[in-house]
């Protein structure tokens, strides 16, 4: 007789909402007539993400005491719920951005093909977000690995979905190869940890380590190192970042926007969960490991960004350096670090998404890759998007226009609180370097001599396309980015309650 475990459907409601919507969108790809597919699938996706937000908020409210559900395979707690809410919000914004742009905006010449796979795209977007929503709540190494693959495989296909462009396919393949390499590393690490402790559940691992005195066990430490490397691949932290610029540049821009914000949120949130829950005894090791990765990311991300011309590549390197910043908070390995991490990710996700969304608008307008030359004059031609980009860039640089400023302050405070004043200095120096390339974009957008400014308009050949939904998504990102500067207290409270689910 098989006694199936009790399933707490409510705990899974966010995932189920997204999956359900994904299924409906997929059905739409078959059943709904082609001309209506775009509207249908986008509506379903928007509803799905809204449902996901509602579910995760509800879950947040109703999960004050965190515990594991469904045979201890999934965490129902506020850490999960808050991360799910961020992922769903990014997903909603991506949906708005994608309606006009995906897939195949470059196929304008042949309008009939613009709707190729549009419903499948939204289904994949929902599926990947569902994977992330599950990933952040994974409670054992198996669900961790599987949900990582779940979200990654959907992302690989999304990267490649603009398959009339070689760059898109190439990005998909590159991401697949490097992503799978990272997953395999994570998997081997999981196997070693399993072998050392005999368990795959996070708290059980911690328990086995303390009960059997394994904290110096070679297998365990090696496994931990491989697990960290695998997670660093996903969060595109140096030295596991090599794929990031190529993939971010080659993937369709809305997908890049989604990856740079949601994927990073999921990977970093989960990283802290795994390490704090399963390896508290190894904190002396992983805090150092993360500090090292953070320094490497900040150095490589910022220095490499200086010499780039392509705006998407610049933003990709910027996202590497921001992984470094978040890891500074993570490396503190304290409740304050957890709070800093969660708070940082909210404005960061908004700004990263928003900046790529603005790039998408320019790309669509001109039909060419957006470089520092082709973005010239953009600020004056499209005032709203220009100002928004201005806020995002200054915010990413950490100037006090957006919550990015407070986020940076928070992670530095967490590092100092942990006793790592040197990390504060590293963070400060990295910010200084980063200013140069963020300002480079602003300079290109606003300060080129007026004869250069006309280049953009000439290439566009007329008035910019109408894109109300894109403006809405950029506006939302802007509101979150700026609002998080003023609403620090409520957001930090949310983060505090979320971080209290972790055993610090």
């Amino acid at each position: 007789m098989i006694h199936a475990p009790h399933v707490d459907w409510f705990a899974l409601s966010t995932v189920l909402a997204l999956l359900g919507a994904s299924g409906v969108a997929l059905l739409g790809a078959v059943l709904v007539p082609r001309p209506a597919q775009r509207a249908f699938a986008a509506t379903v996706a928007a509803l799905g993400f809204t449902g996901g937000i509602v579910a995760s908020v509800w879950l947040y409210v109703a999960s004050a005491s965190g515990h594991r559900v469904v045979a201890n395979a999934f965490y129902r707690d506020r850490w999960t719920a808050l991360a799910q809410a961020i992922v769903c919000a990014v997903g909603l914004a991506t949906t708005l951005l994608s309606v006009e742009h995906m897939p195949g905006w470059s196929r304008d010449a042949d309008r009939s093909r613009r709707d190729d796979h549009v419903a499948e795209f939204f289904a994949l977007l929902l599926a990947s977000a569902a994977g992330m929503a599950f990933f952040v709540g994974a409670a054992n190494l198996m669900t961790l690995f599987l949900s990582l693959e779940w979200l990654s495989i959907a992302l690989y296909v999304m990267c490649a979905i603009d398959y009339d462009r070689e760059g898109s396919l190439e990005a998909g393949l590159k991401y697949l190869v490097v992503g799978s390499f990272g997953s395999a590393t994570l998997l081997f690490g999981s196997a070693l940890v399993y072998g050392a402790t005999g368990s795959i559940g996070f708290p059980e691992i911690a328990h086995a380590v303390s009960a059997r005195g394994l904290s110096h066990d070679v297998l365990l430490v090696l496994g931990l190192a491989l697990v960290i490397a695998g997670l660093a691949f996903k969060s595109s932290a140096a030295p596991f970042h090599m794929w990031t610029p190529d993939v971010y540049q080659g993937a369709p821009t809305p997908v890049t926007a989604f990856m740079s914000s949601a994927t990073k949120v999921a990977a970093l949130v989960l990283a802290l969960r795994v390490l704090a829950t399963a390896f508290p005894q190894e904190a002396r090791l992983w805090t150092w490991a993360f500090a090292g990765i953070a320094v490497a990311s900040l150095t490589i991300g910022n220095l490499a960004a200086l010499v780039q011309r392509d705006v998407k590549r610049i933003l990709a390197y910027s996202s590497i350096s921001h992984a470094g910043f978040v890891l500074i908070g993570l490396s503190a390995g304290t409740a304050l670090g957890g709070r800093a991490l969660m708070y940082y990710l909210i404005p960061y996700a908004a700004m990263a998404f928003g900046s790529f969304a603005v790039v998408a608008a320019r790309e669509r307008e001109l039909g060419v890759p957006v470089t520092l030359d082709t973005i010239a004059g953009f600020g004056w031609e499209r005032p709203f998007l220009g100002v928004a980009m201005w806020f995002f860039l200054f915010g990413l640089a950490g100037l006090p226009l957006t919550g990015g400023f407070v986020g940076k302050f928070y992670v530095l405070a967490a590092a100092y609180d942990h006793g790592w004043a040197w990390l504060v200095i590293v963070g400060v120096l990295a910010t200084l370097v980063s200013l140069y390339y963020y300002l480079g974009i602003v300079r290109a957008m606003y300060m080129r001599p007026s004869d250069e400014l006309r280049v953009g308009a000439a290439v566009a050949g007329g008035s910019p396309p109408r894109e109300a939904l894109l403006h809405v998504s950029v506006g939302l990102a802007l509101a979150v980015a700026v609002g998080s500067l003023f609403a620090v207290e409520p957001l930090v409270d949310l983060a505090r309650h979320a971080a209290s689910s972790l055993p610090f």
């Binding site: 490649a160 398959y163 393949l173 998997l187 196997a191 540049q249 011309r309």
Partner: protein, 102 residues
């Protein structure tokens, strides 16, 4: 357990993982890269199964079975990409695809 101990199996697993990683890093043909990824996953699988026997728990074997499914999924998407790239009449040479070099 009769025969070789866990360590021997683990040696094989580690070797598989390492040689697979090497293949991914140095080979350029995407098909061979995908095959090398399979070897890496197989190395991890062997470790899981051996440990499953060693700790007398079921999780390792279940894990390994799931990994097989995942590996099949990766291959499915990876081969899809290879075919799509081939249709774009691109050389199947990761290094020659220089559009994204910056």
């Amino acid at each position: 357990m009769l025969g070789p101990g866990v360590v021997w199996y683990l040696g094989v697993a580690a070797f598989l993982f390492g040689i697979g990683a090497l293949g991914v890093l140095v080979r350029r043909n995407p098909l061979i890269v995908l095959l090398s990824l399979e070897i890496m996953l197989n190395g991890a699988n062997l470790a899981l199964i051996v440990f499953s026997r060693h700790v007398r728990g079921g999780a390792g074997q279940i894990f390994a079975l799931s990994v097989m499914a995942v590996a099949a999924s990766e291959v499915c998407v990876g081969l899809g990409l290879v075919v799509a790239l081939h249709r774009r009449r691109l050389a199947l040479d990761v290094d020659r695809l220089s559009e994204l070099r910056g």
